[in-house]
Structure formats: C-alpha cells, structure tokens
C-alpha cells in the first residue's frame, strides 16, 4: 500500500499538481497580506474561468500560443538547448504572416497555408540562425537569441511604420486579407441566417459570436503529439535526446551534434512560428502593432515548458493552466481591485515550486529505502 502511494507520489503529474497547489497557497497568503480576502479572490478567479462557456473557450483559445511556444522551448530543452529566443521567433512569425497576409489574397485554401507557412519559416530561420551561430562559431544560444529577441521587436516596429502596411491613425498595420483568417464560421455567424439561429441558442451564441472561435487549439494539440512522436519514436529524436543528455557520447557514436543543434533550433523556431502565425490568422484584429515591450508569448512558453517538465504532452495541460491563470488574473483586478500582478507572482511561485518538487521523488526513494532496510532487519 505504501509502495503504491509512493509510486503515485513520484509521478511527474502529481509533483506538478502539488507545485500548482502550493503556488496558489502562497499567492493566497500574499493576497491576505495585502488586505484582500483569499476565499473571495479564489472564487472570483474560479468564476472568471468556469462561470460561462465563453470564458472556458477563451481560456482554451488563449492557451494556443503558449502551448506552442512551450513546445518550442520544451523541444529544445530535450536536446540540451535553451531556446530563450521563442519570443523573437514568435514576433518575426507575426511579422511575416502579416506581410504575406496583406500582400496576397488567394483563395483561403492557398492563402491560409501560405500565411501560416511564411510565419513558421520566419520563426524557423531565426531559430536556425541561432543554431548556426552556435555550431559554427560557438556562440552560446542564450546570448544570440536574447539579441534576436530585440532585433525582432524593432523589426516589428519598423515594419509597422512602412507606408505600404501602416494603417493610418493607428498603432498597427492593416489587418491581413480575410481570406487568411482561420476563424470558424466567421461569415455565417454575422449573416442573417446565422444570427437568427444563434438567437435561439444562447450557449452557442455565447461561444461562437463573442469569441475568436477557431480550431487552432486542436491543431496545437495535434502538434504536441507530433513533437512527442518525433522525440520518442524517431531516429532523429533519439539523436536529439542523446545529444542533449551527453554530447560527448553522441559525437563519439557518430552523431553530428553540431548539425543537430541547427536542426533542433530550426524546428524549435518553427514551433514558435506556428504560435505567431496562429495569432495573426486566428485572433482579431489580425495585424501587428508597434511594440513598446515584449508581449511575453515566447517567455511564457518558458514557464509552460518548465511547468510541464519539458514533456510535450504536458505542455498542453500546463499551457491551459497558464492561460487560465492569466485570464483569471485580469478579472481579479476588474472585480475586486486586486492587482493582476498577483497572478504573475503566483505563476512565478508555481515555476519555483516545480523546480523544488523535483526533490520529491528523491525523498520518496529515501523513504522507501528506509522501509525496506527495516524489512530486511
């Protein structure tokens, strides 16, 4: 019996759940210290996520980019690389998607893949560049990708101000042509027929009419599965893992570690690229705007990957949790006036506890050892 419980305690899922629990506890403590009722805050946060179908759907929709950037970071982690450049790759992807989305106007069947692929490729190229700099010149990937993040940010602002793209009296570019939208039922829901239909179905109306209803989340889940298959089932994935865990042994086994570094960061960039492209095609107002600061989609991917313990499938769940927390945080400020930063603190604490609970399996093992040695005696 104790063995069974011990085994359960050792599962990564349980550890993560515990980290989230303790993170929430500490956040509650902080709320109390700052003079807000903890139970009220938790109720507000819970309601903010679960009280209406629209809210649930919004959490899911908003989780899509962080799941993808989380996958991007996790994939690099598995190969022993730290892709802190997911942010920049996300940004260049939004830039590329916006440009192709504005310049071209094909039938959706061509337009949508074109826009998404251009975004992915931009992210991939930026990631691959980091890989090339690392493997050819030995420059650490963290340094170059931080630089690239800033280059991407200012590139974005530059593109926004190009006359061809800039929408007058705004901070942003034109929206991409509607043929590139990946919104579902977009035409139908504003048509006569659609509006009449939705009037009789308040739940459907809530989720379809009032959100950027799309299927991008499902594609992100699919991508998570693909990443999992690549890492654990394929030859290349095996090479990536060996290179990540022991580059010396990888090299001596005939694995071209340097080439794999480039591949890995390219793929990692592609994944962040999907996140960027989906943001343009799937959420209004389908354009890029002048950035004064990072929007953190990429950096949040770091937290998502950390919470998931770099497991690709875990990224789906941790992305959802992450997005729910952010979403709830906004209403915390809105409803009871507590600073929404409290949620950021909470996320920080959760990530901290995730690192901390790695010790749990060790503790459990020690406990088991003691039990067994008592048995032997």
């Amino acid at each position: 019996m104790t063995r069974k419980i011990a085994k359960l305690l050792k599962t990564p899922f349980f550890c993560t759940a515990m980290a989230i629990f303790f993170g929430s506890m500490v956040a509650c403590g902080i709320l109390l210290l700052t003079g807000y009722s903890a139970s009220e805050s938790l109720a507000v946060m819970f309601n903010a996520v679960f009280s209406r179908p629209k809210f649930i759907l919004n959490v899911i929709l908003k989780s899509t980019p962080v799941i993808l950037t989380g996958l991007s970071v996790a994939f690099a982690f598995k190969s022993g690389l730290f892709n802190i450049g997911a942010e920049g790759q996300y940004i260049v992807s939004t830039i590329a998607s916006t440009i192709t989305g504005i310049l071209f106007d094909f039938h959706p069947i061509i337009q949508i893949p074109l826009v998404i692929l251009s975004g992915m490729l931009a992210g991939g190229v930026l990631g691959g560049l980091v890989g090339i700099l690392k493997s050819k010149f030995g420059i650490h990937e963290v340094l170059t990708s931080i630089m690239f993040n800033w280059i991407a940010l200012y590139l974005c602002n530059f593109v926004v101000n190009i006359e061809r793209f800039h929408k007058q009296d705004s901070d942003g570019t034109y929206s991409i042509n509607p043929s590139g939208f990946t919104l579902l039922l977009n035409d139908w829901k504003f048509s006569e027929e659609g509006r009449n239909f939705l009037k009789d179905n308040p739940i459907l109306s809530d989720i379809i009419l009032k959100t950027d209803f799309n299927l991008n989340f499902l594609i992100a889940v699919l991508i998570a599965f693909i990443v999992w298959v690549i890492i654990y089932k394929t030859k290349k994935g095996y090479e990536f893992r060996v290179s990540g865990l022991n580059p010396d042994a990888a090299q001596k086994a005939g694995i071209n570690v340097q080439k794999n570094t480039i591949y890995t960061l390219f793929i990692s960039g592609l994944l962040s690229g999907v996140a960027g492209a989906f943001s343009i095609t799937g959420t209004s107002i389908h354009n890029i705007q002048t950035l004064s600061m990072f929007e953190n989609y990429g950096f949040n991917g770091l937290s998502v990957a950390l919470i998931a313990g770099s497991s690709p499938l875990g990224c789906i769940i941790s992305g959802l949790v992450f997005s729910a927390l952010i979403y709830a945080g906004q209403s915390l400020q809105f409803k009871i006036g507590a600073p929404s930063e409290i949620v950021n603190i909470m996320i920080g604490i959760i990530v901290f506890f995730v690192a901390l609970v790695r010790i749990v399996p060790t503790l459990v093992n020690r406990f088991l050892e003691r039990e067994e040695s008592l048995d032997v005696k």
């Binding site: 030859k235 990888a250 090299q251 005939g254 071209n256 067994e372």
Partner: protein, 514 residues
Amino acid sequence: MEISKDYAVQMRGITKIFGNFKALDNVDLDVKKGETHAILGENGAGKSTLMNILYGLYEADAGEIYLNGERMEIKNPSCAIHSGIGMVHQHFMLIDKFTVMQNIILGNETTDKFGIINTRKAKKRVLEIMSRYGMKVDLKRRIRSISVGMQQKVEILKALYRGAEILILDEPTAVLTPYEVDELLEIIENLKKDGKTVIIITHKLKEIKKSSKECTIIRKGNFVDCVNVEKESEQSLAEKMVGRKVKLSVEKRPASPGDIVFEIKNLNVTCERGLESVKNLSMTLRRGEIYGLAGIEGNGQKELLEAIIGVRHVDSGKILMNGKEIQNKSTRYILDSKISVIHEDRHKDGCVLSMSVADNAILSKYRERKFCINGFLNYEERDKFTDQLIKNYDVRPIGCKNTKIRNLSGGNQQKLIIGREIANNPDLLIAVQPTRGLDVGAIEYVHKILINLRDQGKAVLLISLELDEILDLSDRIAVIYDGSIVGEFNQEKANENNVGLLMAGGKFNDAQNS
C-alpha cells in the same frame, strides 16, 4: 583481537544496508598504528563502503568504530577530519579552475582579522609538508593543467594539511603510470616512517605486496580474512578475494597475423593548444593480432584516438582502413568503415548515464536498418537485442533493460558497452583502457573477449596506461612518446624494463639491450 591503543582504527561488526541489499555484513577491521594496511576486494565487495563509513560519509546500520582504542561516533566527514582521518577518493574532489594552493587550503583557509586569506602562512606549511614526505607539486599551476598523478598528490597534501594521521587511499593506483606508482609507494613509505597510518583500498595484488604488511579481504560484503601479506602469494590473495581459482596471467595461443587492415602513415595532429601532439606517427595493424600501444599519459594517445575517429583534424598524413582513406572524414563514416571503439571514460564517451540500458545498447547501431524503419526506431528489435547482450555478456542484474544505466556497476556498464561494440562486427576494435576500474573477475572476462576477437581474425588496437595489461595481451607492443612511436617489440621481446625505458623517453637502442 582486543580493542587496544596500538591500533589506529578498529571497526567491529559493521553492517550497512542499502534498500534490500546488504553491502556490508558484520565486517571487522584492525589497522595497526604506523602501518600500511590494504583492503582487498572485488568491485562492489564493499571496501569503499566500509571506508566511507569510517570517513563519515555513510552511517553504519550496526557496528562500532574505535580510534586509538577509543570508541568514536563519526557522523560526518568533518567529524572524521577532526579525528585525524583523511581520505583520497578514487574520483578526485578538486576544483579544476583553482590553483593547487587554492585547492589545498579550500575549506580550511587561514585568514587575518579582516577575513582576507593569509596565503603566506599556509604556503609555508604546505611546503614543509611537501619536503617532509618527498612530494613535488607546483603550487601555482591550475588543477586542469596538471597530470592525474599530480592531482593525486594534491589530494594527499590536502588531507595532510588538515592534520590527517590516518590516510585512506581509494584505488590510488588506478590512474597512475608505472613511474607514478613507484613515486606514490615512496610517499607512502615516508608517511609510514613519520608514524602515519595508511589504508589502501585496492584490487591490485602487486601493489599490495609492495606496499602493505597486512591485508583485510572482503568478499560480497563479508569479512573473509586478515592476512600477513608476506606469507601469502599473489595467487592465494586473488583466490581469497574472488572465492575461486583465477588465472592471473592471460592465456592465449600465438597470433597468426593476416592481411593489413589498418594503417597510419606519417600522421601529424595538433592539439587545442596549438602544439604538435602526434608527430609523423606510423603504424600497421594486421588481422588476427592485438597491437598494444604503451605510453605515459599525455604523449599524444588522446589526440591520436580523436584523429582516428574523426573528432580532431588531421594536419597531414594518411589513415587507411581496409585500404580506404578515412582521415578527416566524419565520425559516422569512420565508424561505418568497420571501426569500433571502447572509450576510456565510459561515463563521458561511452554511454548516456540518464538513459535506459536498452537505449544505451543501441547507441552505436540505432541507424542500422534493423533498428530503424523509415526514420522510426524499432523498439521491439531494440529490446530483443538488449536482452541478448545482457544474456551473452552476463550483464547484471538480469532484468535491467529498462533501468537507467547509471544504476549499474562500472563492470556491468563496461560489459554492455563492449558487447554493443563487438556486435558491430568491427574489423578493427580500438580499446582504450578497457579494464579501467574493473575487478579481477571482470578483467579476466574482458581480456578473454579481446583475445577471442583476435582469434576470429579481427585487429585490436589496445591503448592502455597499464603496462602489465599491454605486456600480457598484445602480440606486438609499440611505445608512444612525445607523439611518435619510438619503438616496437614482438611480445616475447618486450618486458617491463625495455618498454618502461622507452615510455620514459629512453633511446630504442638502449632499450633493445636492456
């Protein structure tokens, strides 16, 4: 034996249990003051565990420890250091980027009232210790730039600096050259003269004979015997250690060399510091022979190997495998030309510690059609292959396929790696220190495998710092010194004297006469 003041260390009924494994069962140890005492046992017999208990790294589940006749509780290493016990671990605990001096005083710095380290005072003491025991170490050098033998001296200095009266050396000769071993034995002699007590953990019989007066033998966690070394032969010590009759010398038929398989012609290689490490080196290997490359560490062996397997750039010269030029080709291409390597450092180069045994089993063959279909790994074949390796090479524990290879003992890791490489069916097997850190039983096994391979008409290039191993196994013996091969002998002509002379930089003509 009674508890008495004449004994520096006495341990009684020491028992230690890990999980459901009894590492030590009621073991006694008596070490006379001012003497060298050896602890002999195979890998995993529990000798290191016993010493780790004495040094306070582990707590015994039962048993007592007496120092100089007094009962002591040694809860942790700092407790042990206070009681005058020092330990030099098999894997050195030094900081690479610090200087020798900094490492010696680390954790025990003499400071002035402002908290600033007073090196002068410390240096005086270290110099005094060095001269007393005949040790020469350059205090200003950084650890990473000095040889392993030097690093060991630093560890000994560190222990003495902390006032050790009882010094535990864990497998001290495992990494040393013959010359360095002699130096160490001399240092031990000096320590003894000064009244210090030395405990040596080892499985090398020769050195026990040379260094120690008494020897405690442990087998599978049990106390076997405490013997007077002078009255025992190497053979009888080995039998007590292993628990059965063993062959200390290698048995093999004379070689029948065939065609040339592997050839190096006038090879030149530079190391990362820009120095010429391999100079105009040539060698020829034929099928059906073991070619031993003897030499002191740092004479170009590392660079030579790296050049052969395509990790290091070849400046000039040719490497031919089955008549095909392979210099400056990719490692993958070279390995696919039927070369396999057993690396010296199995943790660094030979396996991926945090992967499973099965994943490690396919490390050098995952690309083969059998294990990889259309880019996807074939887990079924992997498992089948691993089971076979485990069975054929007696890797223990038997059901270890899915455990991390980290949890296997060194000998079992090595068996798996050797099995894996031989399964590649190479025409040339390069074995670098293949028995490093293995016990007698495992060494016997590895040697048998290498000879078997030779008898099947393969070539074996044996690179080893252990002269005995080279002399016993090789059909031809070459000596590498300063990046060149300075002499080559047939096995019957080679002996410790002439090969040793060349290793130390002597002339070939002198060596032939000696």
